[in-house]
Amino acid sequence: MPEPEAPPPGASAGPALSRRKFILGVIAGGAVVSAASYRLLAPRAASRPALLGGERLLTLRVNGRLRRAEVAQQETLAWTLRYKLGLTGTKLACDRAECGSCTVLLDDVPHYACSVLTHTVRNRAVTTVEGLAAPDGKLHPLQQAVIAEQGFQCAFCMSGFLMAAAGFLKTNPNPTRTEMAHGVSGNLCRCQDYSKILDTLMHGAELMRKGAQA
């Protein structure tokens, strides 16, 4: 059944371009997908810039240091951290904001680094699991708790959990176990070791409070 092309009654006389044309145009570009097409896309429209994307030199604030890197415009922060800056503590698993293993802090707030464009965090402080320990190497209380409680099995999800917990504890330093569970509910553990993980994070929170008093 053909779709009605006429605008519905009462629709605004907006720009002439219909959403149908827009969708067809954008989908046509995506129909042929291969690794080879990655940098060799043919220009589609007059307005398409001659050189798409490309890398730009960027200065990032990561774990308290200024780091420079050549970053593609479509590059995600997880990619930059791991493959440009060598910070492989940030894990990449689902790449779809559905598992939490890439969690880092942006200005102390947990985000999925797989779903952040690096170019959008130029003015923000990025903290990865490598930045949790003190500059003198003393482990963060959450890390101490991991050792004390033997908190993880395979530990692939660990850095994501620690960053999510570290961010959550900045807003609620004295959570109940249920609150902590909510705080790290955006992180999955493939080993299903949630009970021990929560023991660990609660212990870490306690160590943090003690440290704050000392």
Partner: protein, 337 residues
């Protein structure tokens, strides 16, 4: 069905710092441009390479589109305000807790820290056939892959299907409709203010659209009038997992009760149809009645009249009946509680 590929196809990332500049860029690139807010809907499209815009206009540096301010006794929420900021805002919590409650049910904490309210109401449908790039009606093709005897349609529509059977997935939308919110658009021909429920476009009107935005338009803010400030609210979302999952169904209501009867009420559900549904017939039927179990039962029955299930989603009919019943009649305490 997401296919993990290396990284997104290349695009030019443009980062304006004012809304006017963003509009100029969008006007210049037209259909080649993609508006990026928090990106939680956009990145799937771009990573799967189903959509390959030449230019991405990132609104994260446009501070004027962000924040919550008093407005006419109510609130005006910039489109770029994150869901976490909405949920934690004292004014939202005090007077419009319905909205705080709704956005707290979205996805996961990390997603709420990044996803914006404007993006949440503007997001596309989640039908996997469509999202995977199949040439369905909504993608300007000639068929629906979900509405076949073997199509996976457990999550799909029981109302309003017209060739496309996908549902609108937003959790904030029904709450905003119940609160009588207004959406402020910036279009090429100037500012346009529309009622929340009129923002959404169903397949019967235009199948390849989900809302009123034309290429080049911006959603600038969402205004919440004072009408239902501090009213009696109800929000409930049913989903498979308590984190990440989209609603199988949700319901939101705002109600003023005096003298033991409902003075005024607004009621909406989502994930039942291709657009969020305001249930006007139910609103009219319950007005003047006590907000009790029998009014709730009547409301639930009325709400699902005319529902048409697909092969695998008939469960949504009793689900919607019960959610509406609770929203109007309240929730009875379990006998063992």
């Amino acid at each position: 069905m997401a296919v993990v590929r290396d990284i997104m196809a290349p695009f030019d990332l443009l980062q304006p710092s004012t809304a006017a500049e963003a509009q100029r860029l969008l006007a210049r690139y037209g259909a080649d441009a993609w508006v990026l807010a928090g990106g939680m809907d956009s990145f799937d499209w771009l990573k799967d390479r189903i959509k390959k815009p030449a230019v991405v206009v990132d609104l994260s540096g446009v501070t004027e589109l962000r924040g919550i301010r008093p407005w006419n006794g109510g609130l005006e929420i910039g489109a770029m305000t994150t869901l976490a900021e909405v949920a934690n805002h004292p004014g939202v919590q005090k007077n419009f807790s319905l909205l705080a409650d709704a956005v707290r049910h979205v996805a996961s904490p990390q997603i709420r820290n990044q996803a914006t309210l404007g993006g949440n109401v503007s997001q596309d449908v989640r039908c996997w056939y469509y999202r995977a790039g199949w040439p369905c009606y909504r993608a300007a093709g000639e068929t629906c892959f979900a509405d076949t005897p073997v199509g996976r349609n457990r999550e799909h529509a029981i109302f309003g299907a017209d060739r496309c059977v996908a549902v609108h997935p937003s959790d904030s939308a029904p709450a905003l409709i119940a609160l009588g919110a207004q959406f402020v658009l910036r279009t090429a021909s100037g500012e346009r203010v529309i009622e929340a429920e009129d923002y959404f476009v169903g397949p019967n009107r235009e199948i390849t659209r989900i809302n009123l935005l034309q290429p080049g338009d911006l959603l600038a803010s969402i205004r919440i009038p004072s009408d239902f400030a501090g009213a009696r609210f109800y929000f409930e979302k049913v989903r498979d997992r308590n984190v990440w999952d989209f609603p199988l169904l949700n319901v939101a209501s705002a109600m003023r009760v005096s003298g033991g009867v409902i003075q005024s009420v607004r009621l909406a559900v989502n994930a039942a149809a291709p657009t969020p549904l305001r249930l006007r017939r139910v609103e009219a039927a319950v007005a003047g009645k006590p907000p009790d179990a029998s009014t709730g039962a009547m409301a639930g029955e009325l709400a699902v009249q005319g529902a048409v299930p697909l092969q695998f989603n008939a469960f949504k009919i009793p689900l919607m009946r019960n959610l509406v019943k609770r929203a109007i009649g309240g929730v009875e305490k379990a006998v063992w509680a």
